[in-house]
Amino acid sequence: MGTELCRSCGSCGFPMRNPDDFAGGDPDAAYCSTCADASGALRPFDVVLQANAEYLVREQGIDLRAARSMANALLASMPAWQERR
């Protein structure tokens, strides 16, 4: 089992290790397959925000509104979304 640390998505911070974690399955992609399309291009902010909020709801069962607020705070701290601040 490898212990080398992996890269994380520049949009949401998700650790990317397996090929299907990366956008388009490309291990050079800067973003994960949730935040970017198959060409590696970042999806619109609202789409990424909703996907990240739904992930928080799905995994921990928190309220969707609270999840959107948390996802918004998380994305705002990420390199991909610095220009939105």
């Binding site: 089992m1 490898g2 212990t3 080398e4 640390l5 992996c6 994380s8 949401c12 911070g13 998700f14 650790p15 290790r17 397996n18 050079d28 992930y55 928080l56 799905r58 995994e59 921990q60 069962g61 928190i62 607020s69 948390m70 996802a71 705070a73 998380l74 705002a76 701290s77």
Partner: protein
């Protein structure tokens, strides 16, 4: 293949080195006295730098605090992903999570204890980390469920029960393991007890 970027200048390297020193000092200060005691002045003192240096790298104390929590979250997430890659068993995911917790125990326990007072970006980092753990637990549980090896549970409850269990021990580490690591002392037993509850 991406072309290599320009080499960093000495000034860029020094800047990055100072930023790293501030983060590492910040983590030590938080581990010792919590976020409440982690003023920008205390962190600057711990690096031997002038107080103003902090603000060259972080515009506000909240930005520094958020970066400290993000640093812990990034490292723990990457450690978890590395140790639980492929199709790990439920037990292997628990073991990987415990190893990541043990590596950051003092700071992470402070993060949990003071979560409600932290900037929202920092709380979001904790939530994202916990979701990563829950995601990996759910995947492992689904594989073992297909073999009939685990109970039919609400997967959200599965993740939350494990997170709640470890958080309880971390937040009371001074009672469970005074002066030592609660994960080292109790982690293996917690994993065994949790698996006993989940397995058929």
């Amino acid at each position: 293949m991406a072309l290599p970027g320009p080499l960093p200048t000495q000034r860029t390297r020094q800047r990055e080195a100072t930023r790293r020193r501030l983060i590492e000092a910040g983590l030590r200060v938080v581990a010792d006295g919590g976020f409440a005691g982690a003023s920008t002045a205390a962190i600057a003192r711990a690096t031997g730098k002038a107080h103003g240096t902090v603000f060259v790298h972080f515009p506000t104390r909240d930005a520094l605090v958020a970066e400290l929590v993000a640093e812990v979250g990034r490292t723990m997430s990457a450690q978890l992903a590395a140790a639980a890659s492929g199709e790990p068993s439920l037990g292997a995911v628990l073991e990987a999570h415990l190893a990541a917790l043990a590596a950051h125990e003092a700071v992470y326990a402070r993060v949990l204890a003071e979560a409600s007072t932290l900037p929202q970006a920092a709380r979001a980092q904790v939530l994202a980390l916990q979701s990563g753990i829950a995601f990996r637990l759910r995947a492992a549980w689904s594989r073992e469920r297909a073999r009939g090896a685990v109970r039919d549970l609400d997967p959200v409850a599965l993740g939350n029960m494990w997170i709640a269990l470890t958080n309880h021990y971390l937040m009371n580490r001074d009672l469970f393991a005074p002066g030592g690591s609660v994960i080292t002392k109790c982690g293996a037993a917690l994993a065994t007890q949790f698996l006993d509850l989940v397995r058929t």
